[in-house]
């Protein structure tokens, strides 16, 4: 155990065992009710093949939703470590975090006012 990378190897093996085990377990114990949707690559969503007529354009709404998700995802990525270490970070980090959230909300306000949240 002298090498600090050994735990990472263990984690890798654990991940592999978990993935393979889940697939195997669901094969054995899972209910089997087959229908058409079950045999498609995605049960919900857009089929990538065969190519749809008109080039298979995806509505821009999906893209906007994905972008919004990323914006707030990234926000929480930064908020978590900030919240965990809040007591020792002090006023400086609080101010920086508020500035960060303001910039995120500028983007949000733009999307909202320009109709990015209306589905139809």
């Amino acid at each position: 155990m002298s090498n600090p990378y050994v735990p990472i190897l263990f984690l890798l093996a654990l991940g592999f065992v978990f993935a393979a085990g889940s697939v195997f377990t669901s094969l054995v114990v899972g209910p089997k009710r087959y229908n058409r949707a079950k045999s498609e690559p995605y049960e919900c969503g857009i089929q990538p093949s065969p190519r749809a007529e008109g080039g298979g354009r995806v509505p821009i709404k999906y893209f906007l939703t994905a972008m919004l998700f990323i914006i707030f995802d990234i926000e929480s990525v930064f908020l978590y470590p900030f919240a965990v270490a809040f007591d020792q970070l002090g006023l400086f980090a609080l101010v920086e975090m508020v500035m960060f959230i303001i910039t995120v909300f500028v983007a949000y306000a733009y999307v909202w006012k320009r109709g990015g949240l209306e589905w139809d």
Binding site: P4, I60, Q88, G90, T103, V106, A107, A109, Y110, K113
Partner: protein, 524 residues
Amino acid sequence: MTAALTALPTAFEAVKVDYAAVGPMLVVVAAALIGVLVEAFAPRLLRHTIQVVLTLTALVVAFVVLVLVSVDHHGVTVGGSIVIDGPALFMQGSLLIFAVLGILTMSERFGGRSADAFTPMGAATPGSPAEAAADRAGYATSEAFPLTMFAVFGMLMFVSANDLITMFVALEVLSLPLYVLTGLARRRRLLSQEASLKYFLLGAFSSAFFLFGAALLYGYAGSSDLSKIASAITTANGDLEGLLLPGVVLTLVGLLFKIGAVPFHSWTPDAYQGAPSPVTGFMAAATKLAAFGAILRLAYVGLEASRLEWRLGVAAIAVLTMVVGAVLSVTQTDIKRLLAYSSVAHAGFILVGVLAFDRTGVSGVMFYLVAYGLATIAAFAIVALVRSGGSEATHLSQWAGLGRKHPVLAGIFALLLLAFAGIPLTSGFTAKFAAFAPAIAHGGLAGVVMVVVGVLASAVTAFVYFRLIVLMYFTEPTGDDVAALTPSIASTIAITVGALGTVILGIVPGPILDLAGRVSQFIQ
């Protein structure tokens, strides 16, 4: 390894920020954010005016702040990621001036309701009913102004970035808005979108190169800080030595892409042709300056001690860039592509100055960038004026006889072409002299070879420019309905400043050369 992991600091220590020193950047990014809010909340018909006033005011305020802090705020700040020194201040000031001129040309409306260069609705399919309806309804992509401000913010950060991570973030902040701006041309939408996509894909590719190189340099030096990389090179740490050269090469590839050096230039003609002409002018002037600022800092602060290992390679790239840029500009039939290849050749000329590795090289490069940028913004502003049937007449044959129809405009354009060619009494001559002289004095044999190639390449490009002047003045008009629109006060100011700058830097270059010489010392 375990020792390195446990050595991480446990207590949090707030970084010291000299807010005045980064003031210009803060002003610009604040204006960009307010610009986004304007797009969200202001009535549509007022947006153009509000954006133009807001961006120009912010740029002037940023310039004033820059001048004020330039007196006594030199040094490293924001935890060592930003350095405010002479070259950074000089280039930030030049960038702000370019940005003012760029915004002025972008705001050109020709009496219409929205900026003439930008599409009413970028997301609409080119030629679709939705696009026509958006045009009739008076939609406008006034987002172009906040986008430009974000790009300017990235450029200001790029020239003052003191570590590789900050440099990479700045690179992305300046690039992403430019990719979008490239795709917003009002006319020839498909060409514009194609240009945008090409620029984005190749730009993302080059960013990956830069990032990989930065990772290798971090692995080599144990820090992404440029001065720490420099000291790691001088102390030479044995078994990691193999990481240095690949790291240097990959980071330089990422930066050479941005300046359009051969063989990383293939995006330049397409992006320059497809982008709205005012954006092309701004991009050519400001991106080039910012990228050369970063190259100078990386080469002079971070990697100078290892220069013998990579200098000849970059010298070969400089030679290749000059030759390919000059030769291919001869074969161009489109004015924007011609200017694009000429900008490739100019990137080669500037690289010659960079490789001098002397303070005079830094000042020569900075002077060249200012001279080239002023002329370029004015040249593309003129390209935007020459129209045939509503769209820009970019084919060279359409420029035949322009000097008879519009003597003043063609005269100014001819002056700018003379400057590009490096004719005495224009800024181009002084600039080439300022960039080439240090290469002769300090560059050794490679420097002399580069300068010889540079002079020969200049002669080739001069042929291209003279042919264009002959075309404008001594050729019969083709009978096409080519005519120049009357520019508004905004474009007129931009063209006038560019032309005056070209003449003044050619006849009395002293003050700016002195200034560039005095501020050419990097903080190591």
